[in-house]
């Protein structure tokens, strides 16, 4: 704590104007702010705080967590991407606000993924479809067959306006089935309704449903990942089963566009190290998030793909 005081004062009092411009200037020399686009408490916040602690080691500076919630998660993104690109303001978010909510929230000063700078992906959340454990429908083929014979009879609990609805719509279109889509406002509500047997199916995130799978209340049909999950290799992917729908929810670390290349390298390297930090891995693993560093460029391509696919001009957007 004492150290922090001294460093904060030193950082703010140093005639930074002359020093900071030097090319071989060490970075960072003062605390870095990590913005999370949801309020305190909850999954994103826990991840941000774990990431902040993990980043402090390689950056050798305190990392302050800033919760800027609101606007379906877009407000925190706005705060980051409109900040000065000096490397002291970065953010962590999932792809939902940046690729989907961005189309519905009005008056944003940013848009497609080229308007910000993704430093790298840090974790992957799989999306899945589960069925009531006691249902006579055993496999995905059974479900598709039943749904085709009885259009509109099955109900699926999901989340509206995010990656889950986008994924479900894509799957339903490929399978050519008509299932009643019941949107809830989050994993907790959707799982509760599914457990109360209000719907036969649940199209939610794997972290939200995994605990119910373990106690035998829900049965996973498949996941929408690019490959099977390392934690549950017995659950097939939709791609294997013949429905080429591959989406994941990714946690990324991002920054405003235009950070000097030297500083950006420091940050990317720090993120890479943070991802292999055991404490950080523990927090994500407890939430059933696959910990994995993904290159910023690859992430940007993925984001752009979803961003374009969910743009209002396409029918799946609304």
């Amino acid at each position: 704590m004492r150290m922090l005081v001294v460093m904060t004062i030193a950082a703010s009092l140093s005639p930074a104007g002359s020093l900071a411009q030097a090319a071989d200037d060490p970075f960072p020399t003062k605390p870095v702010t990590l913005t999370v686009n949801y309020g305190a408490g909850g999954g994103s916040d826990a991840i941000a705080r774990a990431l902040g602690r993990a980043l402090e080691k390689p950056l050798k500076q305190p990392v302050a967590i800033e919760n800027i919630a609101g606007g379906a998660g877009t407000r925190g993104v706005t705060a980051v991407v409109t900040a000065e690109p000096d490397g002291y303001q970065i953010g962590v978010a999932t792809n939902s606000p940046m690729t989907i909510a961005v189309h519905t929230v009005k008056g944003l000063s940013w848009g497609n993924p080229s308007t910000y700078d993704i430093l790298g992906g840090i974790g992957i959340v799989y999306n899945t479809i589960c069925i009531q454990a006691d249902s006579p429908l055993k496999t995905l083929d059974d479900v598709v067959k039943y749904a085709k014979e009885n259009p509109g009879k099955l109900k699926v609990a999901s989340i509206a306006g995010g990656i889950n609805q986008y994924t479900w719509d894509a799957f339903a279109k490929k399978a050519n089935i008509n299932v009643r889509f019941v949107p809830y406002s989050g994993d907790a509500d959707g799982v509760a309704s599914f457990l109360g047997k209000n719907t036969e199916l649940a199209a939610l995130t794997w972290p939200g449903l995994k605990a119910q799978v373990e106690v035998g209340k829900a049965r996973p049909l498949a996941v929408f990942g690019p490959e099977r999950m390392s934690s549950n290799p017995d659950v097939p992917t939709f791609k294997e089963l013949g429905y080429d729908v591959v989406t994941t929810s990714d946690y990324v670390v991002y920054a405003p566009k235009g950070i000097p290349e030297a500083k950006r390298r420091v940050l990317v390297e720090a993120v890479k190290q943070a991802v292999s930090d055991p404490d950080f891995m523990r927090v994500l693993t407890a939430q059933n998030i696959q910990v994995q560093f993904t290159d910023g460029e690859k992430m940007t391509r993925q984001f752009t793909e979803i961003f374009n696919a969910t743009a209002p001009s396409t029918p799946s957007g609304k």
Binding site: G39, A40, G41, G42, G43, D45, A46, R49, R53, E66, N67, I68, A69, G70, G71, A72, T74, R75, T78, A79, I100, A101, T104, V105, K106, G107, L108, G152, K155, A160, G161, G162, R180, F181, V182, P183, Y184, S185, A188, D189, V191, A192, S193, L195, G196, N198, T199, K210, A211, Q212, E214, V215, K217, D279, R282, V283, T285, A286, Q287, N288
Partner: protein, 502 residues
């Protein structure tokens, strides 16, 4: 027997010095955030969460739980003494608690609240220890249609309980519901009523609105009048202890409030506020002898609600401990504390980490005793708060409100909402409108809307879903009674009077 063994194991965990210290620290921090208006319990828990990583999972959890129920203890203090609720769960207490304090019984009121909170806490911990799994299954029977009807029933009955005019209250309630629709829609994620601005997309958060309507407007009122806060001249021990007659009125209300709070805490939604309104409504409805005292300092009017919001703080843990589903942000945050420790919350928590669950439960017994021990001596201190120079109180509460609201989500908009509603609240109160229904509307509006739309999605637009499900059918019938009941009651009394006259 198994339960006893589990409980003993839990106490073995909870009685470790580090865990007792965590419970005490949490309770203390919670009481402080509860007392200070503007500083939310959620914020305090979130800020302290990173600290919990340095301890074991159960210690961290015990500390966070301590903050949660400690805040419910503390929230009543400023509500009673200054008519400024420390937490939204204490808004109802400003009605009768403050009037009671004005009669020179501030110390007694605080003591009744402390003891009531303790009784409520204890009743609901016992309920929690005994029935966790059973209650969780019952809670799952309640889904969107039931929540929708509960919200409707709440709105229909609660407009009658405060103030003197149901029609005016209805207008206020509806305005509150309308305010809640501004911003991002929780179901679809679309924005509405924002006029394409990102500022209005932030919407009207409960904390700045409630603090503006109640806190700031009270400060403006005090500045305008020469009378100020009630003054406590000297505090003698005799004045701090409630009389036997006061006790005999308080304890049935406390028990009823505990029951109401416990049941409401099992359901999703911000239970601490709704439970206090429900308890107040029940107390007013069943009061016979002292009915006209409500609004003028009825003991039942604050003893019941204060017990209710403490019971909620405990029973809200049921869905989390048994199903791993958090229904309120506070409880979600406690789950977060488990997650950072690498423990996966869920239905297996009880069997995989029994020491965490039972240790937490046992610590809550200890925490409640500690809070009582902490708060009874503090009553004298709090009452002396009224002897702090008034200008200090006014300036300080303004500043704490501002910083509390701002740090909530780093937004200037929330500060504008706070000040704006401070002015609106002052004006409406001066004219004669009751503000409680507006806050209630802001809270139940989103529950009602979300539940109604989920229900219609579920049924494909078929409204008969509200009468074909058994629990829904009962609730629908109650809603009908709530609408036509009072009218019929008026007819009957009028008819009786006519028949007596003729």
């Amino acid at each position: 027997m198994d339960l006893l063994g589990n409980m003993l194991g839990g106490f073995a965990v909870a009685l470790q010095p580090v865990n007792i210290a965590a419970a005490l620290l949490g309770a203390l921090v919670g009481t402080a955030t509860g007392v200070l208006p503007g500083l939310g319990v959620l914020g305090a828990m979130a800020i302290l969460m990173p600290i919990t990583i340095h301890f074991s999972a159960v210690t961290g959890l015990i500390m966070l739980a301590g903050i949660y129920y400690g805040a419910m203890y503390g929230g009543s203090t400023t509500a009673i003494l200054l008519r400024i609720p420390g937490e939204s769960g204490s808004i109802v207490t400003t009605i009768d608690g403050y009037e009671f304090a004005r009669k020179g019984r501030a110390g007694a009121a605080l003591m009744i609240c402390a003891v009531g909170s303790f009784i409520a806490g204890t009743i609901s911990i016992v309920g929690l220890s005994l029935f966790t799994t059973l209650l969780a299954d019952v809670a799952l029977r309640f889904s969107s249609p039931e929540f929708c009807l509960l919200a409707l029933l709440g709105g229909l009955t609660l407009v009658r309980i405060t103030g003197n005019d149901p029609a005016q209250n209805m207008v206020m309630l509806l305005i509150g519901m309308a305010l809640a629709t501004i911003g991002v829609d929780a179901v679809s994620g679309d924005t509405r009523f924002t006029f394409n601005t990102s500022t209005l997309a932030l919407g009207f958060d409960l904390v700045p609105v409630a603090l503006g309507l109640y806190g700031l407007s009270e400060l403006f009122h005090v500045l305008a009048s020469n009378e100020g806060f009630p003054r406590a001249t000297t505090v003698r021990l005799r004045e701090m202890i409630p009389t036997r007659r006061e006790w005999s009125r308080a304890w049935p209300a406390i028990v009823r409030g505990s029951g109401i709070g416990f049941l409401i805490g099992l359901l999703p939604g911000p239970g601490s506020l709704t439970s206090t309104f429900a308890s107040y409504g029940v107390e007013k409805a069943i009061a016979r002898k002292h009915r006209d005292e409500f609004g003028k300092g009825a003991i039942e009017g604050f003893a019941g609600p204060e017990a209710a919001n403490n019971a909620v703080a405990t029973s809200a843990l049921v869905p989390v401990l048994s199903l791993g589903i958090p229904f309120t942000p506070n409880v979600a945050l406690m789950l977060g504390a488990l997650i950072v420790q690498g423990i996966q919350p869920g239905p297996l928590l009880l069997s995989q980490h029994p020491n965490v669950v039972w240790g937490l439960l046992a610590s809550m017994y200890i925490g409640n005793v500690a809070l009582l021990a902490l708060n009874l001596p503090l009553v004298g201190m709090w009452v002396r708060l009224l002897r702090v120079p008034q200008y200090t109180l006014i300036a300080f509460i303004f500043a704490v409100s501002f910083i509390g609201v701002y740090t909530m989500r780093n937004s200037y908009w929330d500060l504008c909402v706070l000040v704006g509603f401070g002015v609106v609240g002052s004006v409406l109160r001066q004219i004669g409108f009751d503000l409680a229904p507006m806050i209630l509307g802001l809270v139940i509006g989103p529950i009602f809307e979300k539940a109604l739309r989920e229900t219609l999605f579920l049924s494909g637009g078929d409204l008969t879903i509200f009468v074909t499900r058994p629990i829904s059918a009962v609730l629908s019938a109650l809603c009908v009674v709530a609408v036509v009941g009072p009218t019929i009651a008026v007819w009957i009394t009028r008819g009786n009077r006519l028949s007596q006259q003729s």
